[in-house]
């Protein structure tokens, strides 16, 4: 049954395809149950229009009809005609919409609407409310030349008038516009043209998303540097004039002139406090509103306490009976300068931790050449729609995922799969976006665009993983929730203890130690310790085709004690190939293989295919076979070039009364090696044996040795019979082989190993082995290209090589080591720093920290943590 429609004349529900007649009116199509209804409609169409449309026509001036606009909208998520109808009904019901058509096959909707009565975002909302997605794109474009709020309004207005632009917001501070638009209606070029037409300069060559983030980082970095230099320059005179007794010429000044100078210093440090240190205060206030505190609170409190105390000293020195009091404005200026510098350096270093993901994002092609309206045109890659025909020339990047429809070429997929040898592509083959076309030209139909592409999914997963938490950080999270308020309390108690029991002048000691405590405490070093290393470690994995789902997977991977390898497709290639040809006297290898392969040509049996591939690989030319016949369970026979060829097992041979002779022994030996031997008889004589086997991947042996060197127990798990399993086990030197395990028992076997007290990793293809992967402490899915089930496992190895397992474990160990160094450093720093700042060493060694030293220590503790995380970037996948 097709789409149901309502006859507007008689109101009957009819099948659109079976309608007796149909009429097109005002862009909408109407179906009729009979010619009579159609005739009545023709006579007075207005009378029969559905309410939504009729209202439109009655109310609207003729001019309004002309103002009707048509909107073409890509819609995704539709699985059937029914979905299309759901959307059509929902949209048509909106006031101001005159007609709506939704084509399920094309994934597109067309809406005629009156722009004076309804805005496009409302239409989109209605579609999304039904659970479908519209192909609305978001673009961030830089704009130069704006300097006031009226410019903002002007640009927003201009962008809003561009057909196909749904919403545009302009941010003066970042000089950018965020535009959501419909790629089918407009293009980036048109948006930029609208900006330029109003006298502003769109900043070219900007990609949406990341670079603006990078730019923001850069902007913040330079902002912090400026604040640092300002504070540093002010610090110099403040230090010199703050200690007049050390400088000739100054020391002879009278106390009242010195007080005047100090007063000047107080004024001089104010801009440092409120400009260079502005963000400490705004941050502290914002946090206080939520009754929480952070590093900003500590710095703001410490520096303002120092400033206030100094100012009291200058204004009313008489209230300090001990005398001998000096202001310390220098603490204010220098601490702010140091902490700001530390923040700038930290920001710089942080930028580098996300290098790997930037590299991945950078792989994305910028433009695509597509065939639209019969013309080839270059469009930004974001505007490629599903179903577009994309043209790729030699040396160009494949812009999105798709299926080749014409032409052939070789494509370098190393950036995604890690496979260094270029892959041949013909019609029907899949191509992956961001891979590089080498030799030929081809056209392909886009099947996955935007967020659906393999690259976008990889990027998304890596980003999610990088921002996930590792269990090791749990303690830190608990501590950091209490850290700042507790430090504040320690600061207050320090003041009290020094005031009560400290030496004279007690106010000075009490205040200096309290301020030092506030300044030296560094929650950031603690908080950054784990996420920074995770960021670098997970990024490093992604560079090598190892996708780690989250911090937990990474942390567990480091504790793995046993690795269970599925045999088929993991250790081995997963499909049989020709391994041996043995012949009887009077026959040659090539002759037997050529005839056998000719019989199997066109066979869909994997063993037959392996023989054909093997023959072709040796450059043998195959002949046509006549009278092909399959003997179920035994083999096949056919005539090739007039010779009768029989291919099958020993039983078939015996049945036909053919004596295998010495071949029987060879067959048994081959079977012992885990191979599948097949007898070939030519014209009634046993001619030879062809053996095929699932071969071990080239680097499996080396990878398994490397795993053993890492101190791991390696176990092979397979559904094969014990003999085949043992043979493969010998080849790859695995001692512990669990054979004849039914697929549904794989998880149970993993569980048994866990019961031995081991942390077990399971490596499999992610589809058949999903339950075992889930049961294991760490599940590693292995595969190549778009086949990989990224969602299935804790760790995904896109390269399809067992080496990935070794690398994944090596990365996790290196990352966890790095995290532990960071955490240890940050804990020790705070655990020693805070008591020393409070002066616990003073009674024994007379040691007190200057608040300036505390500021320097605090600033560089977090830089150190981030820099240590960055060391991980140099981690190489050398032989483990």
């Amino acid at each position: 049954m097709g789409i149901m429609a309502t006859d507007p004349v008689c109101g009957m529900e009819i099948d659109e395809e079976a309608a007796a007649a149909s009429r097109s009116y005002d862009g909408a199509t109407f179906c009729f149950c009979s010619d009579a209804c159609a005739a009545r409609f023709d006579a007075a169409p207005q009378q029969y229009l559905p309410a939504a449309l009729r209202g439109e026509h009655q109310a609207a001036e003729p001019a309004a009809v002309d103002a009707a606009e048509e909107l073409r909208l890509p819609i995704s998520g539709m699985t059937c005609h029914h979905c299309a109808e759901t959307i059509r009904v929902a949209v048509a019901a909106l006031p101001g919409v005159m007609a709506a058509h939704v084509n399920h096959a094309a994934g597109e909707g067309t809406v005629r609407y009156d722009p004076s009565r309804i805005e496009v975002p409302r239409i989109i909302e209605a579609i999304e409310a039904k659970g479908f997605q519209t192909g609305v794109l978001k673009l961030t474009v830089g704009i130069a030349g704006m300097h006031c709020a009226s410019c903002v309004t002007k640009v927003e207005g201009a962008l809003g008038r561009v057909r196909g632009v749904l919403a545009a917001t302009v941010d003066l501070a970042t000089e950018t516009a965020r535009v959501s638009y419909l790629p089918a209606e407009t293009s980036v070029a048109a948006i930029e043209a609208a900006i330029a037409a109003n006298g502003y300069r769109p900043k070219k060559g900007e990609e949406p998303g990341t670079p603006s983030e990078q730019e923001a980082r850069e902007r913040e970095y330079h902002g912090l540097l400026a604040k640092f230099w300002f504070a540093a320059v002010i610090s110099l005179p403040v230090i010199i004039l703050g200690y007049p007794s050390y400088f000739p010429g100054l020391r002879d000044l009278s106390f009242s002139s010195i007080r005047l100078i100090w007063g000047g210093l107080g004024l001089l440090t104010l801009p440092v406090l409120f400009w260079s240190g502005q963000h400490f205060f705004t941050g502290a206030v914002a946090a206080l509103r939520h009754r929480s505190a952070n590093m900003n609170t500590l710095i703001a409190l410490g520096t303002s306490a120092a400033w206030l105390y100094s100012t009291v000293v200058v204004l009313a020195p008489s209230i300090f009976p001990e005398g001998n009091v000096e202001p310390f404005y220098d603490v204010v200026a220098v601490v702010i300068a140091l902490v700001v510098l530390g923040q700038a350096l930290e920001l710089r270093a942080k930028g580098r931790t996300s290098e790997a993901i930037q590299k991945l994002i950078g792989l994305q092609a910028k433009t695509a050449r597509v065939l639209r309206d019969g013309r080839e045109q270059d469009i930004p890659v974001e505007e490629v729609l599903r179903g577009d025909v994309v043209i790729v020339r030699p040396g160009q990047k494949v812009p999105v995922d798709g299926e080749v429809i014409e032409g052939s070429s070789t494509v370098d997929e190393s950036m995604i799969t890690g496979e260094s040898i270029p892959v041949e592509k013909h019609a029907g083959d899949e191509v992956i976006g961001a891979t590089l076309n080498k030799t030929g030209s081809f056209r392909f139909k886009a099947t996955k665009v935007g967020k659906e592409t393999m690259l976008a999914q990889i990027v998304k997963m890596v980003q999610e993983a990088q921002s996930s938490k590792a269990p090791i950080a749990r303690l830190v999270d608990v501590i950091s929730g209490y850290f700042v308020p507790v430090v504040m309390v320690i600061g207050v108690l320090t003041f009290v203890v020094w005031f009560d029991f400290g030496p004279s002048p007690r106010v000075v000691y009490a205040l200096i130690t309290a301020v030092t405590v506030l300044i030296i405490a560094c929650p950031c070093a603690l908080g950054l310790a784990t996420p920074m290393s995770l960021m670098v470690g997970i990024g490093k994995g992604a560079e090598h085709g190892i996708l780690i789902r989250n911090g937990e997977a990474l942390e567990t991977a480091q504790r793995i004690g046993a690795v269970v390898l599925d045999k088929t497709g993991t250790i081995t290639v997963g499909e049989p190939s020709l391994t041996d040809v043995r012949v009887s006297e009077g026959f040659t290898d090539d002759e037997v293989l050529r005839l056998a392969a000719s019989v199997e040509r066109g066979s869909e049996h994997p063993l037959g295919e392996a023989i054909v591939r093997g023959a072709e690989g040796r450059g043998l030319s195959l002949e046509a076979a006549e009278g092909f016949q399959a003997i179920p369970g035994h083999g096949v026979e056919a005539r090739v070039q007039g010779r009768h060829v029989l291919l099958g097992n020993l039983k078939l041979l015996r049945q036909r009364g053919i004596e295998p002779g010495p071949l029987a022994e060879a067959s048994a030996a081959l079977a012992d090696d885990g191979k599948t031997p097949m007898f070939v008889a030519i014209d009634g004589r046993a001619a030879g044996i062809i053996a095929v086997a699932d071969t071990v991947k080239a680097d499996s042996v080396a990878a398994i040795q490397a795993l053993k060197r890492l101190g791991l127990e390696v176990i092979m798990l397979t559904g094969d019979n014990a003999r085949t399993a043992a043979a493969i086990g010998r080849q790859v030197r695995i001692d512990r082989v669990l054979a004849e395990v039914l697929p549904e028992d794989k998880a149970q076997n993993v569980h048994l190993l866990q019961a031995e007290g081991k942390v077990v990793a399971m490596v499999g293809d992610g589809i058949n082995d999903a339950p075992a992967l889930a049961q294991a402490d760490v599940g590693l899915a292995i595969g190549t290209g778009t086949d990989v089930a990224i969602e299935a496992a804790d760790i995904t190895l896109i390269k399809g090589s067992l080496r990935g397992v070794v690398h994944a474990i090596a990365i996790s160990r290196a990352t966890m080591r790095n995290i532990k160094q960071n955490l240890f450093g940050a804990f020790i720093y705070n655990a020693l720093g805070i008591p020393i700042a409070a002066g616990v060493l003073y009674p024994f060694f007379g040691l007190l920290l200057s608040p300036i030293i505390a500021g320097a220590a605090m600033a560089f503790s977090s830089v150190t943590v981030v820099s240590n995380a960055n060391r991980l970037r140099r981690f190489t996948m050398r032989e483990v």
Partner: protein, 124 residues
């Protein structure tokens, strides 16, 4: 100990007590209930904390939270929902939308990457 010392001691203890009460005492957060038709949506402003920081939703229906970070301080650059294994980076000034479906009534905390800024989703 002289009088000044006693005064300072008493004041110090009082201030310490106040700090502990202020930061760890029971907080009355800003509550937000969300509209009840279709998807439950709420906007959260991130600036030194989350406003609102208590979001009431109904269990069993999808929740859509849109975070806007209005500061550049690195402290709040990430939002983490440990119960849903969800986290997202919050670029300054940008709307970041997270969607959940909460099946069981209960309290689901969220926080920044360091756990210093906190909020709660309460499903009923």
């Amino acid at each position: 100990m002289d009088a000044a010392a006693w005064i300072v001691t008493a004041a110090g203890l009082a201030v310490s007590g106040f700090i502990l009460w202020f930061f760890f005492g029971k907080k009355r957060g800003v509550e937000a209930s969300v509209a009840s038709s279709g998807v439950q949506e709420a906007r959260v402003t991130v600036k030194g904390g989350y406003t609102p920081d208590l979001i009431m939703v109904q269990a069993g229906r999808p929740v859509r939270l849109t975070f806007t970070r209005q500061e550049t301080a690195a402290c709040s650059e990430m939002i983490v929902f440990p119960d849903f294994q969800k986290s997202a980076a919050l670029p300054p000034g940008e709307d970041v939308t997270l969607e959940f479906k909460i099946d069981k009534p209960g309290e689901y905390p969220f926080s920044c990457q360091m756990g210093m800024l906190r909020g709660k989703l309460i499903a009923r």
